[in-house]
């Protein structure tokens, strides 16, 4: 469990994080979203005691990070895969980390195996591809078999197989009752990964809710209808807002439930070829809610 | 248009690209997919004349890259956003690129504006975030207003707004009739972006088709049906020879039928439908199915 209370960080005059309060619960994967410059990294650094809050505090399992005894056994984190000495071997990197928290050396080989780096354990980390470096970072996070895990853009540099692997892996960690807190910009990926969301913008909390709720609140559900008697159906829908989808002649209906359209069709003997309720995407919901807080607005 | 014909690249004993032939058509966004080490980057480098093929050739609008007159006006590419001198300003970087291909200087300001970097144009590129470097790289690719564009992991480091922007941007370029080839590992993103796919594994072509075909070919297509008369509908569908599976109260998953067929059966029996949704597999599922044995580092799946 991670609890932030009134967490604030100023850099000179810039307010990076502004009175931020949230809770990350165990047993679920919680996504941490926000535009560039929203304060996500700063927040994660404060969770790990790397940056000192200007005000407020953040507790991990009820304690400040600095008060944790052998913290790697409580919190594992992957913030930046590049935080490895390039001339040190993968194994040596994990060995000193393990030693610092009295984690047995055999665990080093275990986690290397887990992330699929056993074969390159003795190669210098500087020669690793981004994907391999990412796996090494994940291995480091897992070293202490921690209850709380923080990942910042974990799929960065991974190939499709690695992306699928880390997603399933995070789900499994959460199922084991661990707290999994993941920051990412890849919303299509996060929609599949995170059950809960914490969304911030300009250092302030925008939403803390389940992913489903977040999408439902910010987007409108539509129903895609295809039928050989589309004009008849359109007439029946009367005042409902409909629009045609030019690609395949489907009708997109807003504000009427699929079940209701189905009843109408059946009552009037209209054949349906498709009656497909469409959810908004996490991306649409996110854009809707964070409109005001983006850093470099590109335009065309 | 990009045409690879029998393209092959060997590094010593390693075959990075192996007799690869494919065509990238104009007017569409084509995704270039493959596991790590499949040879995607090598192929892109050969397209740009950075690496020399061991055999075969790759042509851009009918010519090898080296034969292009003022290549930046034909091909724009973003391969690695870090290929910028860190102490040079964004603007200076684009200015020398423009100069090298006789592109007017006002185009520099235009592309900076297009990618939203006008305000930081005079700052040194070394201080840029990955997202800003990425935008600078994209600006460079656009400089010569080229007909063919290559992007390698273009959303790398971009935030959600940037990702949405680049997706729409690439689709816009394709809609203008340009050839757009995008390599990426983010399949959920590519499913939204690419109309066509070229998929390679271990240097060989695995598939070239539209995205829809690719997914349909390698995943099972089912129809999800919700109805207050699910039992009756189920029985009728089984009679027609379709495979039906229950998935909770009043929900059927039908295999072997199109949603059109299921809808006709329901209408024939006068049955009310609450939902009739064709279910497609994901691009990820299809990709895993087809490239299963050509990945480089397998992580252990158990814990």
């Amino acid at each position: 469990m991670i609890e932030a209370t009134g967490l604030t960080k100023h850099y000179g005059r810039t307010v990076a994080v502004d009175d931020l309060s949230f809770t990350v619960r165990p047993g679920r994967v919680t996504g941490f979203l926000g535009p560039n410059g929203a304060g996500k990294s700063t927040t994660m650094r404060m969770v790990l005691g790397l940056d000192r809050p200007t005000a407020g505090r953040v507790l991990v399992n009820g304690k400040r990070y600095a008060e944790l005894d052998q913290p790697l056994r409580t919190v594992g984190a992957l913030l930046d895969a590049k935080w490895v000495h390039p001339n040190r071997s993968a194994r040596a990197h994990l060995r000193w980390l393990a030693k610092s928290n009295r984690i047995p050396v055999r665990r080093v080989d275990e986690v290397l195996e887990m992330v699929g780096l056993s074969q390159v354990a003795h190669r210098r980390a500087g020669g690793f591809s981004l994907g391999m470096a990412q796996r090494l970072g994940i291995a480091g996070a897992l070293l202490g078999d921690p209850e709380v895990l923080l990942f910042d853009e974990p799929v960065n540099g991974l190939d499709p197989e690695g992306i699928l692997w880390i997603r399933q892996f995070m789900h499994r960690l959460a199922e084991q009752g661990r707290t999994v807190f993941v920051s990412s910009h890849l919303l299509s990926e996060m929609a599949q990964t995170a059950q809960e969301l914490i969304v911030i913008g300009r250092g302030k909390l925008i939403a803390q809710t389940s992913t489903e709720q977040f999408i439902r609140d910010a987007t409108e559900d539509t129903v895609r209808v295809r039928s050989p008697q589309l004009d008849q159906l359109r007439a029946l829908l009367g005042g409902a807002r409909v629009e045609d989808s030019p690609a395949d002649g489907a009708l997109v209906v807003r504000g009427v439930e699929a079940a209701r359209i189905g009843e109408l069709a059946a009552a009037n003997g209209i054949v349906l070829h498709e009656l497909n309720p469409q959810r908004g995407s996490l991306e649409e919901a996110f854009m809707q809610l964070t409109k005001e807080s983006v850093e470099y607005q590109a335009h065309d | 248009m990009i045409e690879a014909i029998g393209l092959t690249k060997r590094y010593g004993n390693t075959v990075a690209v192996d007799d690869l032939s494919f065509t990238v058509e104009p007017g569409r966004v084509t995704g270039f997919l493959g596991p790590n080490g499949a040879g995607k980057s090598t192929t892109m480098r050969m397209i740009l004349g950075l690496d020399r093929p061991s055999a075969g050739k790759v042509l851009i609008d009918g010519k090898p890259y080296a034969k292009l007159d003022r290549p930046l006006r034909t091909v724009g590419a973003l391969l690695d956003a870090k290929w910028v001198h860190p102490n040079r300003s964004a603007r200076a970087h684009l200015q020398w690129l423009a100069k090298s291909n006789g592109i007017p200087q006002r185009r520099v300001d235009e592309v900076l504006d297009v990618v939203g970097l006008t305000k930081v144009a005079k700052r040194r590129a070394g201080g840029f975030s990955l997202g800003m470097s990425q935008r600078l790289g994209i600006a460079g690719a656009l400089l010569g207003d080229p007909k063919v564009l290559l992007f390698d992991e273009p959303v790398n480091g971009l935030d959600p707004e940037g990702i949405l922007w680049i997706r729409r941007f690439m689709q816009g370029l394709a809609a203008e009739g340009r050839t757009v080839l995008v390599s990426s590992h983010l399949l959920s993103e590519m499913a939204l972006t690419a109309q066509d796919l070229v998929v390679i594994g271990r240097g060989k072509l695995i598939s070239q088709s539209t995205t829809t075909e690719f997914v349909e070919r390698s995943t099972e297509n089912t129809v999800r049906v919700r109805s207050p008369h699910a039992d009756k509908l189920g029985a009728m569908l089984v009679d027609k020879g379709f495979t039906v599976r229950e998935d909770g109260e009043g929900v059927l998953i039908v295999s072997g039928a199109t949603s059109d067929q299921v809808g006709e059966v329901a209408a024939g029996g006068g049955l009310v439908l609450h939902e009739l949704s064709p279910q497609r597999g994901s691009l990820e599922e299809a990709f895993m199915q087809l490239t299963g044995d050509s990945v480089e580092y397998h992580a252990e799946t158990g814990k």
């Binding site: 000192r52 984190a77 930046d80 935080w83 390039p86 001339n87 990197h93 060995r95 928290n101 | -």
Partner: protein, 253 residues
């Protein structure tokens, strides 16, 4: 003890510390060999064998500064502070390991130079280690290297950048301390208290009668006795290191 092992793993799992140590040793011993081989002003004194110790000192200090600046350069400092969030203990452990290592290199450089002089010098009648002063000249190199490493580590932790830390150390030691002596009137008085000048006094100062031919080797200046000089140098090193600890503890990682 655990943290000492952590720092030992960190230091020896990359190559640059090995290169620095070899270079420190090679440079000091090598230059001494040239001096010894060309010594022709009568018997070679013990002091003659340690003239070159400053070369190794600079290299060892660069190594010490690197031990901390590379952690900042490559971001491993974050992993270090994640693993041990009190920050002080890993820094102290690092100082202990680096200082001890530097001292060992210093001892090897001191005795190595002396041993080689014994082999190469024409007249070795004055080279035997017979007095406490003789021992100080040679073994003192180890002590100065150790203290110098601590000083450099402090500078490195404060500056965080390799180039910055190395330039500060080298410019201070090689340029500033000599230039200061050129300031009219007060220059000499200031120079007397400059750390590297004082450290040099510890090793080179107050030789036995006849231990040093006139106007050979660098002059030694300073108001303190040799051991007082060492105390002064150590005090500066410790002070610098303690300041760096306070800053590291307060600063965002």
């Amino acid at each position: 003890m655990t943290l000492l092992a952590v720092e030992r793993i960190k230091l020896f799992s990359t190559r640059s510390p090995w290169w620095c140590m070899l270079l420190a040793l090679g440079l000091t011993v090598g230059i001494t060999a040239i001096i010894a081989g060309n010594w022709n002003e009568g018997p070679m004194p013990v002091l003659g064998a340690v003239f070159a110790h400053t070369f190794g000192l600079y290299v060892v200090m660069v190594m010490a500064a690197l031990a901390v600046t590379t952690e900042y350069r490559f971001g491993t400092i974050k992993a270090t502070f994640q693993a041990v969030p009190d920050r002080i203990s890993p820094m102290v452990a690092k100082a202990a390991v680096v200082t001890a290592l530097a001292a060992l290199v210093g001892l090897a450089a001191g005795f190595g130079s002396w041993g080689l002089s014994w082999l190469l010098a024409g007249d070795t009648s004055q080279l035997a280690l017979e007095s406490a002063n003789d021992w100080r000249h040679v073994a003192g190199v180890g002590l100065v290297y150790g203290a110098g490493a601590l000083l450099a580590l402090g500078v490195g932790a404060l500056v965080r950048q390799t180039a910055g830390a190395v330039s500060i150390i080298l410019v201070f030691a090689l340029v500033l301390e000599s230039v200061v002596g050129l300031i009219p009137n007060i220059g000499d008085d200031i120079q007397k208290w400059m750390p590297f000048t004082v450290a040099s006094k510890f090793i080179m100062g107050d030789p036995d009668q006849g231990g040093m031919p006139a106007d050979a080797g660098p002059p030694t200046v300073g108001a303190l006795s040799p051991w007082g000089s060492f105390g002064y140098f150590v005090a500066i090193a410790v002070a610098m290191f303690v300041i760096s600890l306070v800053v590291v503890k307060r600063r965002d990682a």
